[in-house]
């Protein structure tokens, strides 16, 4: 039989997605441990997470600086001794500070865990925050900031949340060059005392997490003294200006960075699954409306996309791109056009099918392997959701109609209600 190259081979529906699920339990001191065991792996990722993200900082940048300095010296070991210790085991030690959480993350061979975990505990329990390290770190970060501040994309990202939320909102997290001078060692120590020391933390561990590894975690962390969570009231009110567009000119910019978006709904909201699908259609994958128009048809950009960012106390929608500066206005026009189309016209059967299947494939990829599956769990855990979130999402995807897509866009994706940040030239 002659090969028919014109027709796609039989498509098989994705009818079963195996959710590799985390198991959770508590240590003696109440600390929650969540784990996913994949026996055939030889490596582990272990994350210790605190409610010490940027929204909790009394001063700009304090959360991220304190977090980064955790590994730069402890009561028993200098920064270089710590680095040496972990590097010697072929391990990787990272710090991560988001708006809501701050973590220390260890990547290592499973066999190294008994040796490294006690060391990790010592670091996060008794960091030294020496004057030298604090100064050194601030200097390096300041220079990094100065370089980054020359990038239109970085500046647009920096300005976006303050613009849609108002400067006072804790999520705005403004960073400016002068702020680096304002951080002192005492500030760092105080923040550590408030947000890390004897504060509740959670452990997320994935990979080869068998009996032995769990025992080590137990032995190491069960006895850590944990008080109740420090109560604080970050400012979450939204108090943005009336202005709908912010333009920051950059003299010789050959590209402009554009951000279009607003406050939106999060994963906890009943409409989220529908909005998620609508967002995918609009700008959430390579064949999206925005990509097809602005990149593949017009060639204005190397990349354009839209996203729904969902956190504990804030959710927002944003379209991002960097375009040739001479087509900045054209791009805004096309963004408006595509968003209006989503609200005015019904998506056709074929496109809807395609996006549904693409998203199902993505969910499958999202649970592929212990590390990815743990990322999914972290997201659910942070949002206070269970795995039925995914059952609900899949169900919505399978059932959603073109009319529902259009309606959810009319509700949440109106171009006129969006704020715009442009960095470059207009």
């Amino acid at each position: 039989m002659k090969l028919n190259r014109k027709e796609q081979p039989t498509r098989r529906q994705i009818d079963k997605i195996n959710f590799l699920k985390a198991k959770s339990y508590c240590l003696q001191n109440g600390t929650k441990v969540h784990f996913i065991n994949q026996e055939d792996q030889s490596v582990i990722k272990l994350e210790i997470s605190y409610a010490a993200g940027s929204i909790f900082q009394p001063k700009p940048m304090l959360a991220s600086i304190t977090n980064a300095l955790l590994v730069e010296g402890s009561e028993k070991y200098t920064s270089s001794e710590i680095a040496e210790y972990f590097d010697n085991e072929g391990a990787f030690l990272e710090t991560s500070c988001t708006l809501e959480n701050a973590s220390v993350i260890l990547y290592c061979l499973a066999e190294s865990l008994p040796l490294l975990l006690p060391q990790l505990k010592e670091i996060v329990s008794t960091p030294s925050f020496s004057e030298h390290e604090v100064k050194n770190h601030l200097m390096i970060q300041k220079q990094k900031f100065i370089v980054n501040n020359e990038k239109v994309g970085y500046v647009a990202k920096k300005e976006f949340l303050p613009f849609i939320l108002g400067e006072k909102n804790a999520y705005s997290n403004r960073v400016e060059e002068s702020y680096f001078e304002n951080i002192t060692r005492k500030d760092v120590i105080d923040f550590f005392q408030t947000r890390y020391n004897h504060q509740p933390f959670e452990i997320f561990v994935s990979g080869k997490v068998g009996e032995k590894s769990l025992e080590v975690i137990d032995t190491t962390f069960s006895n850590v003294k944990v008080d109740s969570l420090y109560s604080s009231k970050p400012f979450f009110e939204i108090d943005s200006s009336e202005q709908s567009t912010m333009l920051i000119e950059k003299e010789d910019a050959i590209q402009s960075a554009i951000r279009v978006g607003n406050v939106s709904i999060g994963r906890q909201h009943k409409d989220f699954p529908k909005l998620y699908l609508a967002n995918t259609l609009l700008g959430g994958y390579f064949g999206s409306r925005l990509m097809n128009n602005i990149r593949e048809d017009k060639g204005y950009t190397y990349g354009v996309g839209s996203g729904l960012i969902s956190m504990k106390h804030l959710a927002y929608f944003v379209i991002s791109t960097e375009v040739g500066s001479e087509v900045t206005n054209n791009t805004l026009y096309e963004i408006e056009l595509e968003m209006n189309k989503m609200c005015d016209e019904l998506v056709n059967e074929k496109e809807l099918e395609l996006v549904k299947n693409y998203v199902l494939g993505n969910i499958m990829r999202g649970f592929d392997g212990a590390f990815a599956a743990m990322d999914r769990f972290c997201m659910l855990n942070n949002a206070g959701l269970g795995y039925d979130y995914y059952l609900n999402l899949i169900n919505t995807i399978n059932k959603i109609s073109a009319i529902e897509i259009r309606d959810v866009c009319r509700e949440y994706l109106q171009f006129e209600k969006m704020k715009k940040v442009i960095v470059g030239k207009n």
Binding site: R5, R11, Q38, C108, R365, D368
Partner: protein, 414 residues
Amino acid sequence: MIEFQEFELVNGLRVVFHQDRSTPIVAFNVLYDVGARDEDENKTGFAHLFEHLMFGGSINIPNFDSPLQAVGGENNAFTSNDITNYYITLPKSNIETAFWLESDRMLSLAFTEKSLEVQRQVVIEEFKQRYLNQPYGDVYLLLRPLAFQNHPYKWATIGKEISHIENATMDDVKSFFSKFYHPGNAILSIAGDLELEEVEQLTKKWFGDIPKKEKVVRSLVPEEKQLEERVLEVEKDVPLDALYWAYHMPARNHKDYYAVDLLSDILSRGNSSRLYQKLMKQTNVFAEVNAYITGDIDPGLFIVSAKLNPGSDFSYAENLIEEELNRIKIHGVEEEELSKVKKKTKSTFEFGKTSVLNKAMGLAISSLIESPQLFNEEVEYYSRVSQDDIKRVAQEILVQNNRSKLIYKSIKDE
């Protein structure tokens, strides 16, 4: 050890298959043995532009991405000076779609005017976004032609200049395809929960009838040995002074490649590395400092790069770096230092095994360099590097006459 099986079709297509039962996702990787080094000096940026065009529709399939997305697949590609690599991940139940798509675009592209026009613009935007509109973005555009006077590595993958991309014609593009995009010039690497029989059967079904073509025999102009230091100083609108030192190093399949790689690790991998500890932690001179290799197949570069804090004296900074390099040349390295970086290599390999895509890609690249077995053997090669090897390669490579220096000054110094 990653187990794999290999076979070859009559038309020259090499196939590597690694079975991984732990995942519902299959990685499907097609590597073409063509990169920026294969371009004409006056028509650079082609391999990369071509990568873009590969998504513009093939002879029987007008749209590459949609049919793939419709079966839950994802894909991407990249081009380097040596290779152009395309990869797909998709649920295994739809594996045949990957075979269908990749074989058709190996057979022939649609070559539409619209596709060429649009991708031309997209690549130009990419040129701007990544190389022109970023501080220090054009470093490689300056450093490459300084370090390489003869060999095609003298231009970057993105192209020497935007005008080459602007002037690309449909004929240029068609002849590029004809020359480099055929079975004998490709390696197909698949990793996932499949059986060898079905991989063989599907490969023969979809790729079997693609005509065999003669493989291009490379005859690139070899780089002549550098006899004295080259220096280029530029002034740019960036916040910090920077420097880039490029030394010539052995080819990917040279016995000393691994020693040179570990030398760069001892200098700069991880926070316990020499440059980080001595220069970043113990002085205030640098905002950042790194040592790394380009990883090229032909003899490539060993690079030391640094950004200086404002007010740092340039000569003083250079001397500090020079001192560290000399220390190794004179005294060699400690056994613990060496075993430390070897351990990192091993753990990186172990982490790599957790991803089907990583395995498929690694097997393809290893096949190109030597054989798929290289993927497993490399950890062993790294472990055999001795302290003497490190000292010796440092003495051979890190010499002034082998160096091209790019001094990238901030105009804000005025």
